[in-house]
Symmetry: C2
Subunit: 235 residues, 2 copies
DNA sequence: TAGATTGTTAATCGATTAACAATC
DNA sequence: TAGATTGTTAATCGATTAACAATC
């Protein structure tokens, strides 16, 4: 069971459930959740079955119980502590983000080679020398890195050696985790490129062969002028 | 052909190719690229075939030609213009990011209800009233939104009505595109939650049923104390 | 009971890979 | 030519869905 989208769906179920609870509902059927997410009711039931959420064959699922169960599965029943390493523009933006505390994510400290302030948004900033000590003393298991590419591999090793098990890396280099260390890379530049690609795919005519300098072969898929209506590369 | 990972692979091929070119290589085989990305050579050839990159059955692929071809497919042969809507912490971080210009991404303006500066990093800031005019006059097709959730749906409509075809949305609400408008949502809070989930999946014992209050059924998959070694939910 | 929904199995769908003919 | 790699087809793999027995 190696499902890329599985836990993403769990989070979406959670959002829907919270909304439904606000609206005063107490029970929900698999088909409700399926409709909300655009997937089949069967998949919802399979997901719920996987996290050991048991429903009632007549009355569906209890919303509160399901929320508990999803939170338990997501490990977010307790507030999650994390630190920000690198307090440049993006690092500051993360430290200033009020929303995280609403989502039970608690940024407890920021680290930088030369911190320009003592604290941001009430969160203390420390120099890089204090990194290992802080991680050990506060039992930090997850870190967010917003550091230059050149520093990324070294900082990664320091974090992992200090006991960090998960890194959310914003440096535009693809770091790889080993053993039980999970590294998740977010490359904003790549996201933008990705978006331009999708926009262009929809609105530009198909490209011609690159290896050949001649005209498009008559056997090629695209002889019309506009974009190929049948072809969907984007998702 | 609706391949989620397809264009992401193209970008990765590109990175590898640029590195190889720096090292002085001129040709590359599908197996080289497959090894670098951890996919099969067959998939590489299929991808290249799809973007009409033609190789030589004896000598593999020409690196320069392939780079041209990938750039063409990605639509990044020319510099891509975009704007940032919402100049809070995250917006400022994006405006200050020097790396985008290296990647042929050109942020030409920032917009905010009340801009606190005339420009950031040489990029002019305007009030929201100028949004539609600017988009029209400069033929902007892609926008980045770093705005509050409450404003997101309205701003989205304004952007789309002004002719925007692609939005990279950082507001923590899932906006949906319609017709030929592509919206890509980046939810940093969700990414962090996702990471905590993966870390916990690896390092925590399996959860017990939520719907039932009794002990774990003997038929359940997990009777041992530690984490289930066979089960992989994370990817 | 009759009706409705869960939990789960078999069928479907799509993406990746193995294999091989074509050919440089 | 003989060897090696491309381009492409058939086989495989995994995730989602349809269908249905179990059961509240």
């Amino acid at each position: 069971m190696k499902q890329k989208e599985f836990m993403l769906r769990l989070m979406r179920y959670k959002r829907v459930l919270m909304q439904l609870r606000i609206m005063g509902l107490e029970r929900v059927f698999s088909s409700n959740l399926g409709d909300a997410l655009g997937v089949s009711a069967a998949l919802v039931r399979r997901d719920l079955s996987y996290i050991d959420m048991q429903g009632n064959r007549r009355g569906g699922y209890n919303i509160d119980t399901m929320l508990d169960c999803i939170n338990k599965a997501l490990g977010s029943s307790k507030t999650q502590k994390t630190i920000v390493v690198g307090c440049g523009n993006l690092g500051k933006a993360l430290l200033n983000n009020e929303r995280f505390s609403q989502e039970d994510i608690n940024i407890t400290a920021g680290f930088d080679i030369t911190p320009q302030e003592e604290s941001i948004n009430g969160i203390p900033l420390y120099t890089m020398e204090n990194l290992e000590n802080y991680i050990n003393e506060n039992e930090i298991k997850v870190a967010i890195t917003t550091i230059p590419v050149t520093a990324a591999p070294e900082i990664k090793d320091r974090l992992v050696n200090a006991g960090i098990l998960g890194i959310l890396n914003f440096a535009p280099i693809e770091l790889k985790g080993q053993g039980n260390v999970v590294i998740q890379n977010v490359n904003i530049g790549l996201e933008i490129e990705n978006l331009f690609f999708k926009v262009n795919s929809i609105n530009t005519e198909t490209n011609r062969p690159c290896g050949s300098s001649g005209p498009c072969s008559s056997a090629g898929p695209c002889t019309s002028e506009g974009p190929c209506p049948d072809e969907e590369i984007y998702n």
